[in-house]
Symmetry: C2
Subunit: 156 residues, 2 copies
DNA sequence: CGGAATCGGTACTGAATTGGTACTGTTTCA
DNA sequence: TGAAACAGTACCAATTCAGTACCGATTCCG
């Protein structure tokens, strides 16, 4: 339930990799190779992450990418928002008063409650927590391993 | 970020409506009219919800749908799972050992941490909470109203 | 100073998913 | 027995997504 695009999936893998080798500067092909992901996709995603301010890019011959901040300060919520895009919270929210004439809206506005709950959950997980060996509690849920290059979009 | 299909969106609106008029039995056209949603879609969604056990259906001339349980005992997680379908948590998870040869998987298995966090958040919200006037805290986030029939899929 | 490596942006295509519709069967009630 | 309602399935159009390609801008290094 609740889907995340493969692009975001890849993005988190890439950021995790960068976070666990924070001293190094990676370029796109290197990262792609080490993460076993297709190079063009990786390049595309890195561009996005740089534009969104999660990575800093260095151009030129010895260029590459590195994390813009410490992994402890980057939340899953940020990453997902950066990659999924801020595609507006349905038109109704963009212009606040647009559809006040619809009487069912009140029941629907509770969507915000759900949004908040999920966002909170995602804000509570940092990139740093993704690269450390899992704490004991979480290990119970770690059922299987995933195959990067072929895996379908993750369904939460 | 994180998208929910319009079908699920509609489903939650319909269930909320049913929950706030628990004594009544609705058929598909009635519900569609009151929720301002397209009839065929409503019919389709109700079938689904009935099959998933969230609604009980009554066939025949005076048939219709009603909630299978008290709104307090139905969580958002259940609803979303019912409507989004259990479309497998990526192939890798279906068969646990399939891709143990991929060394990046460890970093990816932390997806389960995210999954759990989101699921927990959604399990913590019941249908009953969706129909009560919002508690003060939540009201701060209720920015605008949504237009049912035209709204795009909600992005959390 | 010039070439090579690398990021930055955009535009395009094929495939998968979603939203929506239609039709046919089954059950129940009057 | 006929009409009303649910049940199931199959189908189509439109959007979205994954992936690719191309060209420009920037930096390093010989």
């Amino acid at each position: 339930m609740i889907r995340i695009t493969r692009q975001t999936d890849y993005g988190i893998v890439l950021l995790s990799h960068l976070a666990s080798n924070a001293e190094r500067r990676y370029n796109a092909p290197e990262l792609a190779a080490e993460a076993h992901l297709p190079v063009p996709m990786v390049a595309k995603i890195l561009k996005l992450l740089a534009r969104e301010g999660l990575l800093v890019s260095h151009r030129g011959v010895k260029g590459g990418y590195s994390l813009a901040r410490l992994p402890e300060t980057i939340s899953m919520a940020e990453i997902i928002t950066a990659l999924e895009g801020p595609i507006a919270l349905t038109e109704c929210v963009e212009e606040s008063g647009v559809c006040a004439h619809e009487p069912i809206c009140p029941s629907r506005s509770n969507w915000h409650v759900i949004s908040r709950a999920v966002r909170r959950a995602l804000e509570g997980i940092t990139l740093a927590e993704m690269i450390h060996p899992l704490p004991a509690a979480a290990k119970l849920v770690t059922l299987g391993s995933g195959r990067a290059a072929v895996s379908a979009p993750a369904n939460i």
